[in-house]
């Protein structure tokens, strides 16, 4: 009788070690992923931001020269400095661009929420058999290139564009409106592009809501509007928060929309970044701009993650 028992113990020991290995491997995969796709590129950018601009290939100095051994490494590190970050604080273009980006992101998030919430609400209230079709219609624009869709808006919003033609034809205006190359065009472009990111999380939180909660609120003395305000809105809050972050975070760094639809007065950090890289060929300053942008974005991303975590905890 002792032997099978022993065998069981052995088996357990073996299984335990194997389990540890498997677990380590399982944990290692995402870390390797993170290291390769986020941390290494980030440190490269950080290193460039600490370098100086140079007319060479690559257009910055120092570069690490391992052939000179230890002195090459110390030499390399001694040449790194925070000069570019200091420069960002000295020229007011940068902080104005950051501030303007955040402002545009906030305003367009609110606009997207105002447009997206009624659409999500309508979808959630639609007959169940229609919902997949409506969902499809929301996602459909993603199947066309983003760039082409933004160009299409140029065709709509320009002085000779479809919008002005229709308004002139209807007699609402007598001279064409200047929309393209203004902040208005940027807002229209952002709201249009990011609308699905707002609609989908709000829709999913509204769709799960029990219809009888609204009836209960009415039964207890609420008007329809009051029931919406006291029950529907609070219950869709996680969806609203998720949608707002999903729109705001990428919009802060948005580049294509302001450069195609915005005018010379539209100041966004994505555009500044692009100009530093490709017009000025000042990689170190551009990298410094990118590092600061990342630090600014970390705050809403952490808040977003916390919201998501709280929601999953509440659901358990």
């Amino acid at each position: 009788m002792g032997r099978p028992g022993l065998a069981v113990v052995d088996g357990n020991g073996c299984g335990f070690a194997g389990k540890l290995m498997r677990r380590a491997l399982l944990i290692a995969v995402p870390y390797v992923w993170l290291l390769a796709l986020f941390l290494i590129p980030f440190f490269i950018v950080l290193k460039i931001s600490l370098s100086d601009v140079e007319l060479a290939i690559p257009p910055y100095t120092p570069t690490l020269d391992l052939s000179q051994g230890w002195s090459g490494i110390t030499d390399f590190f001694s040449q790194l400095d925070f000069e570019n970050f200091v420069w960002l604080t000295e020229d007011d273009l940068y902080w104005k661009a950051y501030l303007s980006s955040v402002k545009i992101a906030l305003i367009s998030t609110v606009l997207t929420l105002l447009v997206g919430y009624p659409i999500a609400y309508g979808m959630a209230r639609a007959p169940a058999e229609w919902r997949p079709t409506l969902m499809m219609l929301v996602i459909l624009p993603f199947w066309t290139s983003f760039l082409i869709r933004v160009y299409a808006w140029m065709g709509i919003l320009s002085n000779e564009g479809y919008l002005n033609q229709i308004l002139l034809w209807l007699g609402i205006i007598s001279t064409p409106l200047t929309i393209l190359n203004t902040n208005t065009a940027v807002y229209i472009g952002i709201v249009y592009t990011y609308l699905p990111f707002m609609i989908l999380p709000i829709y999913s939180s509204l769709e799960r809501m029990d219809e009888s909660l609204i009836e209960a609120a009415e039964d207890l003395g609420c008007s329809r509007l009051k029931a919406f305000w006291l029950v529907t809105i609070p219950l869709s809050r996680p969806g609203i928060i998720a949608g707002c972050f999903l729109v705001m975070i990428p919009v802060i760094g948005e580049f294509v929309i302001p450069s195609l639809l915005g005018g010379s007065s539209t100041l966004m950090i994505g555009k500044v970044l692009w100009e530093e890289f490709f017009s000025n060929r000042d990689w170190p300053v551009a990298s410094a701009v990118a590092v600061v942008l990342l630090l600014i974005l970390v705050i809403p991303i952490v808040l977003f993650q916390r919201n998501q975590q709280k929601q999953t905890e509440a659901e358990q």
Binding site: D210, S212, L213, E215, A216, A217, E218, D219, L220, G221, C222, S223, K226, V231, P234, L235, R237, A314
Partner: protein
């Protein structure tokens, strides 16, 4: 069930019987006046009239799709009658929206607001009335005490058990002291044991608050236990409205007899045989059965004899004094613990159920499969029904 019948309707024990429906002077709290409700081509409620009195515990009982939930939703104001009127305290309530009615509802899903604490859930309706802070707090505390939820006041609905949620839903719907409380399958989500305890709690609370309760249920046992009167519904019509004991003992149709409890239905032709007594010819080669009935039957009229299984006696030999006795053999036995139901097959293929209490240990059971047995019942045991 017997406990309930004694307390509410037992004339023998209580001289002051609560039975306003028998008093022609009594004014009903709720009146359905020829109410019809159609959804498109489907008629959910079909020209229905019904009076419900103050302080009643009224049960709407029926299979799913019979219209009982529609009745309740019309009382709450979520549906409007297509035809006819619903009166509450003499006032036509059809044009009044749900948030203005002195009616509250306890939802089947409980519909507790998940983002609010138990305390805030109960206070929700009171806040809509702009009740002064002190009164509001007192009222919420009172409701918490009534439903024994004091220690859960600060919790959220997902942090308490199903039975507690049920009590929160009840407290919330009672907080505004409605004239009428509607309960939609209130105990459906609870397990059997908790359901039984909660039934008595519901009755207690109903008596303490003096509120009129209308309960919708498909569980006949629940309806019988809690209600002062039961309305059995089918396809948008009321089949019978009466006290639980009368519904059980004197069903007015085969449908009601069959829906409430277990029953044997024997079809035959009635022939008058003395005062209020009838002889029923029901099968070739079988001696006729005898039953009494206060409703008249013409000779040769087809009829149905409804006999409850517990009123059928099973024995090995033919009882000497039995008025109705048939012979058969035991086809099946359903053992329910306290009771056993014997399925006895007669020579012509008819199956009759007989129920008897298991007063002896199962190993000493008198009858087993294939045993030849005699079934007998008295003339008054069965109810004679026309349809």
């Amino acid at each position: 069930m017997p406990f309930q019948s004694d307390r509410r309707t037992g004339a023998a024990l209580n001289t002051n019987v609560f039975a306003p429906w028998e008093d022609p002077q009594a004014k009903p709290l709720i009146q359905f006046q020829n109410v019809t409700k159609r959804f498109g081509g489907f008629t959910a409620i079909d020209n229905l009239s019904l009076d419900i009195f103050e302080q009643e515990f009224f049960a709407l009982l029926g299979p799913s799709g019979c219209g009982k939930t529609t009745m309740m939703r019309m009382l709450a104001g979520f549906e409007k009658p297509t035809d006819g009127h619903i009166m509450l305290g003499g006032q036509d309530i059809d044009p009044i929206p749900p948030n203005k009615r002195a009616v509250n509802m306890m939802f089947q899903s409980y519909a507790l607001f998940p983002h609010l604490s138990i305390w805030e859930n109960i206070a929700f309706g009171l806040r809509r009335d702009n009740m002064p802070k002190r009164d509001l707090e007192d009222r919420v505390e009172e409701m918490l005490r009534l439903t024994r939820l004091e220690q859960f006041a600060r919790r959220k609905p997902h942090q308490i058990s199903g039975g507690q949620r049920q009590r929160v839903a009840l407290a919330r719907s009672l907080a505004k002291a409605p004239k009428l409380l509607l309960l939609d399958e209130p105990l459906g989500a609870l397990d059997k044991k908790l359901r039984q305890d909660t039934q008595f709690e519901l009755m207690d609370i109903q008596e303490k608050t003096g509120t009129t309760f209308v309960i919708v249920t498909h569980d006949q046992e629940e309806a019988m236990t809690v209600a002062s009167r039961v309305a059995v519904m089918d396809q948008g019509k009321l089949m019978q409205v009466s006290t639980p004991d009368r519904i059980y003992e004197n069903p007015n149709s085969v449908y009601v007899a069959d829906f409430i409890g277990d029953v044997n239905i024997i079809e035959g032709r009635a022939t008058a045989n003395g005062d209020e007594a009838y002889q029923i010819d029901w099968a070739e080669g079988q001696s006729p059965l005898t039953a009494t009935s206060s409703t008249g039957f013409s000779n040769g009229q087809s009829c149905h004899l409804a006999i409850r299984p517990e009123k059928v006696t099973i024995s090995a030999d033919r009882p000497a004094d039995a008025i109705n006795a048939v012979q058969g053999k035991v086809l099946d036995i359903a053992y329910l613990g306290n009771l056993s139901t014997y399925y006895v097959e007669l020579p012509n293929g008819t199956i009759i159920k007989a129920q008897s209490a298991n007063t002896r240990r199962i190993s000493r059971r008198s009858f087993t499969w294939e045993d030849p047995v005699w079934l007998s019942w008295t003339a008054t045991a069965a109810v004679l029904l026309a349809n």
